[in-house]
Amino acid sequence: MNKRSATWGQSLLYTFWSVIVFGLLYPLMIAILAHYLMPIQADGSLIRDKHGVIIGSSLSGQLFTKQGYFHSRPSAAGNGYDPTQSGGSNLGPTSNKLIETTRANVLHLRQENPQAPATIPADLASTSASGLDPEISPEAATFQLARVANATQLSGTQLRALIQLQTIQPELGFIGEPRVNVLKLNLAVQNLIFCTHLPRDCRTSVK
């Protein structure tokens, strides 16, 4: 009996000290170190425009609808790209709803991109796992190339080069997949339009 009540006391005291060390001191220490070593990442990799207004984050995709922008993947997060409701469709492969949604996506992509190749890249027609996927495959970008070229009056060659420049390759050649950040690609497109009109004032503010 004595031994057991001692165990209760030990458990309570142990919970107390370990909560302070692992629940408070440890995250605090990481936060302080991260703040000084890598402030941009620690604060959420925010992307600002020229005036310093936060227009996005590398950690979240956005909805793009205009013809002159490259579009992101379909999103199941809330009403689309809601970072407070991250998640996938959770529809199984034999779900009617999945097939209907995919059919609608395909139809929409076909209407928007009449000059696009015959087959649609899988990522462009399907919802991502987080609903916040900030990236698309280079194939999915190329699929939209003709549409963006028409709307922006930029040449296909220029845009093709831009997609190539914006493509992030897998680390060491095999860790991950080649991909393009949609927001950064669109910023680069806008920059290119800006440069075409005002070549002298052109600053490559966007990598």
């Binding site: 001692a6 165990t7 006391g9 142990y14 909560v19 692992f22 629940g23 440890y26 995250p27 220490m29 936060a31 991260a34 890598m38 620690a42 604060d43 959420g44 990799s45 936060i54 227009i55 996005g56 984050s57 590398s58 950690l59 979240s60 956005q62 909805l63 793009f64 205009k66 790209y81 970072p83 407070t84 409701q85 991250s86 998640g87 996938g88 469709s89 959770n90 529809l91 199984g92 492969p93 034999t94 779900s95 009617n96 999945l98 097939i99 995919t102 087959t119 890249p121 899988a122 027609a125 399907s126 991502s128 796992a129 987080s130 990236e135 897998p170 680390e171 991950g176 997949e177 991909r179």
Partner: protein, 566 residues
């Protein structure tokens, strides 16, 4: 399938193989109380903890006392989290004004994190305060993982000790696992993840005006520090709802690599630690090889199934593998690999939505869990899980040749086999019975996100995940009273229904006399033994679950090929 995908999987396995010996011998030194690289720094903290908590580090415990301490400490931790979730709205560090949990959801979550399951019926980004994430969930990630490691070490001692009836001191093992193992690895890993882009701050959520003038609210908080221990401790509970699929938790392929390696790291190293204690490294490597074979087989099947894709979607003019519920940066191989590893271990973190995997891919994930998560497994629980299978294998091999089975010189007798069988029965009983009940219960069926065989798979997956303390889900379930309560029972039985027999078995073996090996002794580090062990794992696991799996993913795969939908 691409060769780069295979290269990535091979690379992960290579890192694990290379890390197993150094980390395994370090763990052995730590738990033997030997001097190590971190002793100077951490010993004062360790002894400070013993003084504060009135622990006598010299006192060894019998299995009953060891198990009692595990149960009482877990109960205190469970009550603590339950109380925290019911009152978080009144506490500080709640910038988004998260409200208090409803009691049944708080109970489910408290049990889930205590049992190292981390099943989540809430969305982290809206339901949890930063304080609850840190001092509730992340703290549980540390201590439930350390508890698992402590039990594995106690079981190793029981099997390998000679002439000592005790298994060690739970508080000492717990403290050493926390301070010498989980803390330093987490510090390095959290900084590495942050470098890749995982946020670590105490800000309010950031208001973003998107490029097309929409509005977004980006979650912020101490995410990196919680993310790394979620994987190292094979806990799996995400800071946000989308778990490791969210760019906030897993922003790049490199962070994905760090997270995948973290899942296997300690589980693999413990096999080496085991060999060290057994004074025969081959015993540890034999177990490692059996695990590695099951891992590679699992990955190959999932990768092949996902790369083959969904024929119904192909008919719509979409090319390529199954990208529904997957992220572009991970692609098919990065998602298939993560999914295989998270179900091999008791982790349950996801970087792709398992619900949307092809039926065959989903079947392998389901099987990985149903086999008892012994492929490297949860930290600690993987090793004590597979040691139970080793005892069964030795027993069956003994029956086949007609000799009294023995393992590392100790006779395996009636009592040991009873304990091993008891543990082996917990998983199927508490996965299949509730599945059968839920399959006819309207309040369970109403919440399913999918119809047809896939709906049944969702139920089967939920209980297989719960009883094995995995925590990943076919996400289509909606939380209600039935799910909250039934899963909490299943998670508790799945955790402690294995721990108690495992400790009892260790206690019973600890005190046994060692008989010298003879020509008739069955070698437990030969290739034949490895094959036999794999055979026993597959037969016990697969045969028990085959009928249920046939009604879910197997029939769905066949009907998908025909183009049937629900």
């Amino acid at each position: 399938m691409s060769w780069t995908g295979w290269l990535q999987a091979g690379f992960v396995l290579l890192i694990i193989i290379l890390a197993t010996k150094p980390l395994g011998s370090y763990i052995a030194a730590v738990f033997a109380g030997e001097r190590n690289v971190l002793s100077k720094l951490l010993r004062p903290i360790e002894h400070g903890c013993y003084r504060l908590c009135r622990i006598d580090p010299q006192r060894e415990m019998l299995w009953q006392e060891y198990g009692g301490a595990v149960l009482i400490f877990s109960l205190v931790g469970c009550g603590y989290l339950f109380a925290l979730l019911l009152t978080q709205a009144y506490l500080p560090l709640n910038p988004q004004h998260a409200s208090n949990f409803a009691p049944d959801l708080a109970w489910n979550t408290a049990v889930s994190f205590t049992t190292n399951t981390n099943w989540q019926f809430y969305s982290g980004e809206t339901a949890m305060s930063q304080l609850s994430q840190m001092i509730g969930l992340a703290w549980h990630n540390f201590v439930s993982a350390a508890t698992g490691i402590a039990i594995a070490i106690a079981m190793i001692r029981g099997i390998t000790r000679r002439g000592i009836a005790t298994l060690g001191n739970f508080w000492v093992d717990l403290t050493r696992a926390l301070l010498y193992l989980l803390l330093p690895l987490s510090l390095i890993g959290a900084l590495a993840l942050c470098w890749q882009g995982v946020p670590q701050n105490f800000h309010r959520y950031t208001q973003i005006t998107t490029y097309e003038h929409g509005s977004q609210l980006l979650p912020q908080g101490p995410i990196a520090s919680q993310e790394i221990i979620k994987l190292l401790g094979t806990n799996g509970g995400g800071y946000v709802n989308a778990n490791s699929a969210s760019p906030s938790e897993n922003p790049t392929p490199l962070s994905n690599l760090i997270e995948m390696v973290s899942m296997f790291l300690i589980g693999a190293a413990l096999t080496y630690t085991y060999g060290r204690y057994a004074r025969d490294q081959r015993q540890g490597w034999a177990i490692f090889v059996a695990m590695a074979i099951l891992f590679v087989a699992g990955f190959a099947s999932v990768y092949a199934a996902e790369a083959a894709g969904n024929p119904i979607v192909h008919q719509l003019g979409v090319a390529g593998g199954n990208m529904e519920g997957k992220e572009v940066r991970f692609g098919l191989p990065g998602s298939a690999l993560f999914a295989t590893m998270t179900t091999d271990t008791s982790c349950g973190a996801v970087n792709a939505m398992h619900d949307s995997f092809t039926p065959l891919g989903g079947l392998v994930l389901l099987l990985n869990m149903q086999l008892g998560e012994v492929v490297f497994g949860g930290v600690g629980s993987g090793l004590y899980g597979i040691l139970l299978f080793v005892i069964l294998t030795v027993f069956i091999a003994g029956l086949m040749v007609g000799r009294t089975p023995e393992y590392l010189g100790k006779k395996i007798e009636r009592r040991e086999v009873q304990y091993a069988i008891l543990a082996a029965l917990v998983v199927p009983i508490f996965a299949l019975l509730p599945t059968a009940i839920a399959a006819v219960l309207p309040s369970a069926l109403n919440t399913l996100g999918n119809a047809g065989p896939h709906g049944f798979s969702e139920i089967l997956y939920a209980y297989s995940s719960g009883v094995n303390n995995n925590g990943s889900a076919f996400g289509g379930l909606g939380p209600n009273l039935w799910w909250n309560l039934s899963l909490s029972v299943v998670m508790l039985v799945g955790r402690f229904g294995i721990i108690v027999p495992a400790l009892a078995l260790a206690g019973s073996l600890a005190n046994k006399r060692v008989v010298p090996a003879s020509v008739g002794t069955f070698e437990t580090c030969s290739p034949i033994f490895v094959l036999l062990l794999i055979g026993v794992i597959l037969i016990v696991g697969a045969l028990t679950f085959f009928p249920a799996d046939a009604l879910g993913p197997i029939v769905e795969q066949l009907l998908m090929q025909k183009g049937t939908t629900w």
